[in-house]
């Protein structure tokens, strides 16, 4: 179980302090897919970096399976928005997926199996020896997802992973993520600014306020587990949920203007 | 504060090594004696004349090298044919050490300013030229095609597409050239005897005045630090509009 309790993050530079996150508390159960959505600039990425252990919180704590997260914990994988920058351009697709496994000291035959399974699962057979930059943007993001999947994480963090790919690819990748989630039973925390995406993907949606961030609203997505682009999005319930999230975000924007604390 | 700690450490080391007898203080005097020698030098007019001579040679040489380098770079870079045909010659001429040109310099200019300038210009020119060529090669083909589609003239393409792209590279080239020009100015003065800090170093050396020599060496180092700081500042000011000051450092 992933627990975030009283999380606070203040950025300090020489001249001023900026409170990015004021107070965030929520939990994600094992095997759950939770989407975090909020207005732009609301500190979603800061939250994710704190959860991933890439950033130390100013206050509060993040716990994974009861242990406080102080650095990147084992068993957690991250997929970043900037696919072009998160893949090692000097390594082939195969080596990009393989490298984290090698660091985990997974035995060689097991590694080979994991890499090829993961690449097959995201539909990237036959590109193993290519370099990432030879692939399209959507395919590059698939490599990043394959890398995360092959890592066999218990928790998968995704930071606006589809914000920079085209609409059709995006739809495909959304279905891919849901399919993988259902198959692997992994816990997923999915950060996005796209309301439709959040509702379509998640079991639960957390709506964040504008910065300094708190949890504005939390709602259960009571749509059937089998979802598809055509019917789910046309569903009346989907539309209702979507409207509710939209309202909350608008409220969040109005309620709390940006405040910078001068020191 | 931290920035000064490195220099302070160096100073301490330079004081301690000879004091502890790890090196003979006749041949590497402790820092305090070098500083005293520096203070004595700084009170003489000849010292400031020498600094002035060196900086004059540096500045004039740099201006000439940059003008020639930018002109040649844009010309060669903008005309692909020229580029392929000159590549081998540039690679041949570039590594010829400027110190090898000393006899030629003396032949043409004696031990005057001209000799120093020849070596400074030769060394600094390549730094600028190579950077400008890199810069010109970096022009975005899309921007180039956009300019063509709007029927920009050749001059307008150079002015509005090629030049802005190359500018950060040009600045990197200038910064590299500024550092190299100082090294060469002092070297030329040292080896040829043209007036300037280098020739004063040579006189101190042949007179066996080691502390004075070291003090003058320190002055060249400080000049280098100052020039580099100035160049970086200018670059930051003038290129603040550019999202990333790209390119290469050091030389």
């Amino acid at each position: 179980m992933l627990e975030v309790s009283g999380l606070r993050k203040v950025y300090r530079s020489q001249r001023r302090e900026v409170e990015a996150i004021r107070d965030l508390t929520f939990t994600v159960d094992d095997g759950e897919l939770v989407c975090v959505v909020g207005p732009s600039g609301c500190g979603k990425t800061t939250l994710l970096r704190c959860v991933a252990g890439l950033l130390g919180p100013t206050g509060g704590a993040v716990r994974l399976a009861g242990n406080a997260v102080t650095g990147p914990p084992p068993g957690m994988a991250v997929v970043f928005q900037e696919y072009g920058r998160s893949l090692f351009p000097w390594l082939s697709v195969h080596d990009n997926v393989d490298l984290p496994l090698r660091q985990k000291r997974v035995p060689r035959p097991r590694r080979a199996a994991l890499v090829s399974e993961a690449l097959t699962a995201v539909g990237l057979d036959g590109t193993q020896q290519s370099n990432p930059w030879q692939l399209s943007g959507g395919m590059q993001q698939r490599v990043a997802i394959a890398r995360a999947v092959a890592y066999e994480p218990s928790v998968l963090l995704m930071d606006e992973p589809f914000a920079a790919v085209d609409a059709q690819t995006r739809a495909e990748l959304e279905d891919l993520v849901r399919a993988l989630w259902q198959r692997l039973g992994v816990t997923i925390l999915f950060v996005t600014h796209d309301i439709d995406e959040a509702v379509y993907l998640g079991q639960r949606v957390l709506v964040l306020s504008a910065s300094p961030t708190v949890v504005q609203d939390e709602l259960l997505v009571d749509l059937p587990a089998a979802r598809d682009q055509l019917h789910t999005r046309a569903d009346a319930r989907f539309t209702a949920l979507r409207a509710r999230v939209y309202e909350q975000i608008q409220a969040a924007k109005g309620a709390q203007p940006n405040t910078a604390i001068s020191s | 504060m931290l920035r000064l700690s490195g220099l302070a450490g160096l100073l301490g080391l330079a004081e301690l090594l000879p004091r502890l007898g790890l090196v003979d203080d006749d041949y590497l005097p402790p820092a305090s004696r070098i500083v005293a020698a520096l203070a004595a030098e700084a009170r003489t007019a000849a010292f400031w004349t020498a600094v002035g001579d060196t900086l004059t040679a540096w500045a004039i040489g740099l201006v000439i090298a940059c003008t020639l380098g930018v002109a040649a770079g844009v010309l060669i870079g903008a005309v692909p044919v020229l580029r392929t045909w000159t590549a081998s010659t540039i690679e041949f001429l570039r590594p010829i050490p400027s110190v090898a040109l000393i006899p030629l310099a003396v032949l043409l200019y004696g031990t005057g300013l001209g000799s120093t300038l020849l070596l400074v210009v030769y060394a600094a020119f390549w730094q600028v030229l190579v950077q400008v060529l890199h810069g010109v090669a970096d022009v975005d083909p899309v921007a180039e095609e956009t300019a063509r589609s709007f029927r920009f003239s050749a001059w307008a393409r150079v002015r509005h597409v090629l030049w802005p792209t190359a500018l950060p590279y040009v600045f990197t080239g200038l910064r590299l050239a500024a550092a190299v020009a100082l090294v060469l100015a002092v070297t030329a003065e040292l080896v040829i005897g043209a007036p300037g800090l280098g020739s004063v170093i040579a006189v101190a050396q042949s007179s066996g005045a080691i502390a004075t020599m070291d003090a003058l060496i320190v002055v060249t180092g400080l000049l280098g630090v100052a020039i580099n700081l100035g160049a970086r500042l200018a670059e930051r000011r003038l290129l603040s509009w550019h999202q990333s000051v790209r390119g290469e450092v050091a030389g």
Binding site: - | A72, V106, L107, T111, A204
Partner: protein, 318 residues
């Protein structure tokens, strides 16, 4: 486009050539010749600075300016190309130049050995605790000289030869005079042929002189001379004559007034004041000692520094 570039290159070269020709030849204005002399800023050239102060040149309508070059490699081309009207060089270099047909000619004596072992301005020095006791002991050792295949190694070999050692066993290494005290002290070389003021620095640190190579090479050895280009000698014999007279007077004056010489050192060197008072001054005779130059030529020929040629003294000496 390329033609333009070629034109540019030609233009630059032409500009350079113009700059060269404009400064060639002495400027004469109002009957006063402006003369540049290429000198190495060492003790040896003190008389020309002194002569300038005393007005020996001015009275002969010569306005003198000294251009300090670091060694013959700079001064000879400067004189040949007309950048300098006169230059200062050791005689072995001038002899080498003559065998290579460099168009130069000596016009006056420069500096000479004192001719007295124990009281010369140059010698071969070792560290105080060195096992080397005399010139014969230098055989088989590593000796520093300021320039290879020049006056230093040929005369040091002669010292060893005369003392009964085998000069072929010496290995010479090139180090600037200024670095020799450190090199001797640190044991990087077994001995160093060194001149003032570095010689005094070595002896002050406890070093000993084991051979006086100038003294051994020839009696009253003329070490260096002032020279000009054959072109100037042919085109302006009057100027050369006046310069020779002035420098000769300076040399004689310097020989007679060592205190003024020591004072003059302060004007163009940075030698420590204490050292300036005690270092051994060379001789400044008015005439080049032809016999000693012949001896240098013979030594050089013996060591093979002239290649297959042999120097012709009548062409190089006045």
């Amino acid at each position: 486009m390329r033609r333009m570039l070629t034109a540019l290159v030609v233009l630059v070269l032409a500009g350079a050539a113009a700059g060269c020709s404009s400064s060639a030849g002495p400027d004469s204005s109002g009957g006063v010749d402006r003369v540049k002399v290429g000198v190495i800023p060492i003790v040896d050239v003190a008389p020309i600075y002194l002569g300038q102060q005393r007005g020996f040149f001015g009275s002969r309508k010569i306005e003198l300016s000294m251009e300090s070059g670091q060694g013959g490699a700079v001064i000879v081309p400067g004189v040949v190309s007309g950048q300098f009207q006169f230059g200062f060089s050791n005689l072995t270099s001038l002899l080498i130049a003559q065998t290579k047909n460099v168009p130069v000619k000596a016009v006056a004596a420069g500096v000479a050995s004192t001719g007295q072992a124990g009281k010369d301005f140059g010698g071969v020095a070792v560290r105080g605790d060195s096992p080397i006791k005399d010139a014969a002991g230098l055989a088989g050792q590593k000796i520093a000289v300021n320039t290879l295949k020049n006056i230093g190694d040929t005369t040091v070999r002669e010292s060893v030869r005369k003392a009964g050692g085998d000069p072929a066993t010496i290995s010479f290494v090139e180090i600037p005079f200024a670095n020799m005290p450190a090199a001797v002290q640190n044991g990087q070389v077994d001995a160093a042929w060194v001149v003032e003021p570095s010689l005094s620095q070595i002896t002050a640190a406890g070093g000993r002189v084991v051979a006086w190579n100038y003294v051994d090479a020839a009696p009253e050895l003329t070490v260096a001379a002032y020279f000009t280009s054959t072109k100037l000698a042919a085109d302006n014999p009057g100027l050369v004559k006046r310069f020779t007279e002035a420098i000769t007077e300076s040399l004689t004056y310097a020989g007679a007034h060592p205190d003024e010489v020591r004072a003059a050192l302060a004007t163009y060197t940075k030698i420590d004041p204490k050292l300036r008072e005690t270092l051994t001054l060379p001789e400044w005779p008015a005439q080049i000692n032809r016999a000693s130059v012949q001896a240098l030529a013979d030594l050089g020929a013996r060591d093979g520094i002239f290649g297959t040629a042999s120097p012709d003294l009548t062409k190089i000496l006045p």
